[in-house]
């Protein structure tokens, strides 16, 4: 019995030793991201394939859930992530609250559109995502699809629309900012402002946790109309699902997806290598073809499925300073007061 225990103990020590030795040899990298797995994991894996010396691990959760995990870890003084890839507004909030981000100037920053660069170097833009209206092509012919957000308030769309819940989706705050603040300031309330959501409520709008679920509901036709993000809408098209999208006439809120290094990261060099990769030609090409984003690199080609380029549509940059953590709380509270 004692001998067995001794052997087991030696075996344990040996495997622990081997494990430690193995982890000392290879570099490691922990990536946290908020977008659907099939939109970003292939990008992570492409980096892993290009750097076999680095053991890459990634964790995906809906953005608000991911933020909770990051905050938990920061509070406990045990941040695990080396790089976080989420919306710039969320990263901005993380920096405001915890001073959690590390500044970095990636190799190919000069190739990135000037207006997107962060002078402080805390956020590296890696893709542009747009708010839009997705619809099911089997249930709604293109000519009948809404052309602008206000068209969604037509009573004929009763029980047909799905949106995301700001409690779990970060980009839901982009839609809410655009419709309740930007458009209300530009064209008045009503029809925009929270009044817009009150009218949507009258049409029994449904809210779900993520834009991935919107994609599923639109393609089944259960909710043939959704306020969606470009990357999920593009995935529907490349996957051959019966869905298309409309870039609304009011304009398309352009949300920056950015990568940031976390302060106190255990693998800063690997993290920097990953951020560098995201800005390379190959990285940006993947962000477009797999991720469904608009590229941030000027040299990377991009066209919408209808042949238009980014310059042909009206984009509205998201006001990062407006969507603060306090504003998010207000969004969640007001949204749920209306939807209850």
């Amino acid at each position: 019995m004692t001998q067995h225990l001794r052997i087991a103990f030696l075996g344990l020590c040996l495997s622990l030793g081997l494990g430690l030795a193995a982890s000392a040899v290879a570099g490691e990298l922990y990536v946290y991201y908020g977008t659907s797995r099939d939109l970003f994991e292939p990008v992570v894996q492409a980096f892993a394939a290009s750097r076999p010396d680095i053991k890459v691990s990634s964790y995906r959760a809906p953005t608000e859930e991911l933020m909770a995990t990051i905050e938990l870890e920061i509070r406990a003084g045990k941040p695990r992530a080396d790089v976080i890839v989420i919306t710039a507004s969320q990263l901005f909030g993380l920096q405001q609250q915890h001073k959690a981000l590390e500044s970095y100037s990636p190799k190919d920053l000069e190739a990135v559109k000037k207006e997107l660069r962060d002078p402080a170097g805390l956020l590296t833009p890696v893709g542009i995502n747009l708010s839009l209206i997705q619809y099911n092509t089997k249930r709604i012919p293109p000519q009948e699809a809404p052309k602008k957000y206000l068209d969604l308030l037509n009573p004929k769309w009763n029980n047909q629309i799905v949106v995301t819940d700001p409690r779990s989706s970060s980009s839901a705050h982009t839609h809410i900012w655009f419709l309740t603040k930007y458009m209300a300031d530009a064209q008045g309330e009503p029809p925009y402002g929270w009044k817009f959501y009150q009218e949507l409520r009258k049409l029994n709008v449904k809210y779900v946790a993520s834009h991935g679920t919107i994609r599923a509901m639109v393609q089944t036709g259960e909710r043939p109309l959704g306020i969606q993000m470009l990357n999920d809408a593009m995935k529907s098209i490349t996957a051959g699902e019966p869905a298309s999208f409309v870039l609304a006439q009011e304009g398309s809120p352009a949300e920056i997806t950015a990568a940031s290094l976390l302060k106190g990261s255990r693998n800063p060099n690997e993290a920097k290598a990953f951020v560098d990769f995201l800005l390379t030609e190959k990285g940006q090409d993947l962000m477009v073809k797999v991720g469904g984003y608009v590229p941030v690199r000027t040299s990377t080609a991009f066209k919408f499925p209808d042949g238009r380029g980014l310059a042909d549509i009206k984009t509205v940059p998201v006001d990062l300073a407006y969507i603060t953590p306090e504003k998010r709380e207000e969004h969640m509270r007001k949204f749920h007061e209306i939807m209850r």
Binding site: D38, R75, R167, G212, T213, E329
Partner: protein
């Protein structure tokens, strides 16, 4: 203890001392008991502290009115109790006649009902929820399309809407019915028939006999089944997550999202915990009463089957409804969707494929999740059984002081919502001093959660197994010169082997598809099948891939049950 004389008790103690094993045995007992107390009491003690203190650590009761004054918490609380109440009532209304029909009448389709009860117990409810989203989605759900066609309705939505509070109730009923069925069918089958015979001889009709004699005799069993259904509904997570229904288990998770609020999560968890424990306490009382009732009147022979003529088909129809809506329809739907290329093209012929089954084995997320679930289920059920053997031995075979506390502590997790436990574990293992263990965000924290949740199975089944082994065998071995370890190894363990195996399988069945704790505890590389299915449901891989993984979970669990029945020679439908 029964029949043990003072002298042979003295002999056994002497023998143990002589062999020098007692100290080591005591050490094992103490360590196991300490581990049990640690695993259950620490997270909940910490949460009780969080919920009863303010930000500065001063004692306060202000958290309760503070958080329950918030609209979404208030709504979640009301929903939880109202909906669980509705589930319980309806489960009893369906479960009791079904149990009566199967055990006491000549209804048709008894096999279908038993099969459905088994499937409802062993498979996680969120699989049904996924299937019913496709079946009863208000706009394009297949059942809605069929109903609109059959009833000639010109509306574009409904008449069924699964995304509602009623959706929660309807999808929770199959599980609730199964619990009520298991408790009451056993009571009906073991009932002394002499009172019924007396009633019949006195001129009562079968209907009068059933209503005045049979049903009242089974009322304690019905109550315990209903309480079990209520308790399970209180802790339900998967169904409300998929249907987006605001109940307390969901509110606990949301209060751990932004803004991150430990005090809110703790206070809500404590409310669920108190309600669950109260239900559990009532359940134990009712089970005791039911057993007392049976002991007084039981004679050891089975009551006869009532011949109801064509009226038996009332029970047949109810059984058929239960079988179709709780088993055949949802699992048939999952199989169908798992073979679709894209859910948007529905039943079109060229939309069918088997590639989703390839996908779940080749893609990293489902593959890792399957491996993790196997590791966690195997490890947790093994630890659960090992702890169960030691604690079960302590409770059933010794007079160690405090064993009654262990007995009660070991069933506590039955009434604990997985999300509440997970919230407690996160708070405990992310803060000092236990943060030093580094278990947060690893498979270890999931293992701790699983062992804590399923320890009742290990203790209960092993305790029962020990009680069934006569003390005399042990005594004989010791008197024959065997020391304590030899007695345990060569006499006791072989005799409780079947009970322990049964406990292992029940723990595995519960751990493999675990969702409510895992959804909060998963991190890099620690997804499990349930979180992977939800992730796919949220967009990754889509509904067909999620359905393929669901079908695989269903097959694994069903195969294991069939294997268990063959190996242990014991039906999983026995009331335990």
């Amino acid at each position: 203890m029964i029949g043990q004389t003072a002298s042979n008790k003295g002999d056994s103690v002497r023998l143990q001392k002589e062999s020098g094993c007692l100290d080591l045995a005591k050490l094992v007992w103490v360590l196991s008991a300490a581990l049990l107390v640690y695993m259950i009491a620490v997270p909940f003690g910490y949460m009780a502290y969080e919920s009863l203190t303010d930000a500065q650590g001063g004692a306060t009761l202000a958290n309760i009115p503070k958080y329950f004054g918030m609209a979404f918490v208030l709504e979640a609380t009301a929903n939880t109790f109202l909906l669980s109440g509705a589930v319980t009532l309806l489960s009893a209304l369906v479960g009791v006649p079904l149990a009566f029909g199967v055990s006491r009448t000549d209804m048709w389709g008894k096999g279908l009902v038993r099969g459905t009860v088994l499937v409802s117990i062993i498979t996680p409810p969120f699989l049904r929820a996924i299937a019913y989203v496709i079946l009863a989605g208000p706009n394009v759900g297949y059942l809605n399309q069929l109903l609109r066609f059959l009833l000639g309705l010109s509306v574009e939505s409904g008449p069924l809407d699964i995304f509602s509070a009623w959706g929660f109730v309807v999808l929770s009923i199959p599980g609730g019915v199964a619990f009520v069925f298991l408790q009451t069918a056993s009571a009906f089958e073991n009932m002394d028939p002499s009172l019924e015979e007396g009633a019949r001889l006195a001129g009562a009709t079968p209907r009068q006999t059933a209503l005045r004699i049979t049903l009242p005799m089974a009322k304690h069993a019905m109550l315990s089944g209903a309480l079990l259904a209520f308790s399970v509904s209180l802790a339900m997570y998967g169904i409300p997550h998929i249907l987006n229904v605001n109940v307390l288990t969901i509110a606990i998770r949301k209060s751990l999202l932004m803004p991150l609020d430990f005090k809110a999560a703790s206070t809500l968890s404590m409310v669920v915990l108190v309600a669950s424990l109260l239900t559990l306490w009532l359940y134990r009382l009712s089970v005791r009463s039911a057993k007392k009732f049976q002991t007084i009147t039981g004679r050891g022979f089975r009551p006869g089957v009532m011949r109801l003529g064509r009226w038996r088909h009332c029970f047949t129809a109810l059984g058929l409804l239960y079988g179709v809506f709780a088993f055949l329809l949802p699992y048939g739907m999952l199989v169908l969707v798992s073979c679709m290329r894209r859910i948007g093209y529905g039943l079109e012929l060229d939309n069918f494929t088997l590639r989703n089954y390839l996908y779940i084995w080749t893609e990293p997320l489902p593959r890792t999740a399957i491996i993790n679930s196997f590791i966690l289920a195997t490890a947790s059920s093994t630890v659960v059984v090992l702890l169960g053997i030691v604690i079960g031995y302590l409770i059933a075979r010794t007079r160690v002081r405090g064993r009654a506390v262990l007995d009660y502590l070991a069933v506590l997790p039955l009434g604990i919502a997985g999300t509440a436990l997970a919230a407690g574990l996160i708070i405990v293992y992310l803060n000092r001093p236990l943060s030093a263990l580094g278990v947060y965000a690893t498979l270890w924290i999931l293992l701790i959660a699983y062992v804590t949740r399923f320890i009742p199975f290990g203790v209960r089944y092993c305790q029962t197994a020990f009680m069934q082994v006569s003390q005399e065998l042990e005594e004989a071995a010791r008197l024959g010169g065997a020391n304590w370890f030899q007695t345990v190894r060569h006499i006791l363990l072989p005799l409780i082997k079947r009970g322990a195996l049964y406990a292992w399988i029940v723990a595995f069945l519960s751990a493999f598809p675990e969702i409510s704790a895992s959804i909060l505890l998963r991190n890099i590389g620690t997804d499990v099948v349930a979180t992977a299915i939800l992730d796919m449901w949220d967009g990754t891989g889509g509904l067909p891939a999620a359905s393929a993984l669901s079908v695989m979970v269903f097959l694994v669990l069903t195969l294991l049950v069939l294997l268990a029945q063959r190996v242990t020679g014991r039906s999983m439908l026995e009331r335990s």
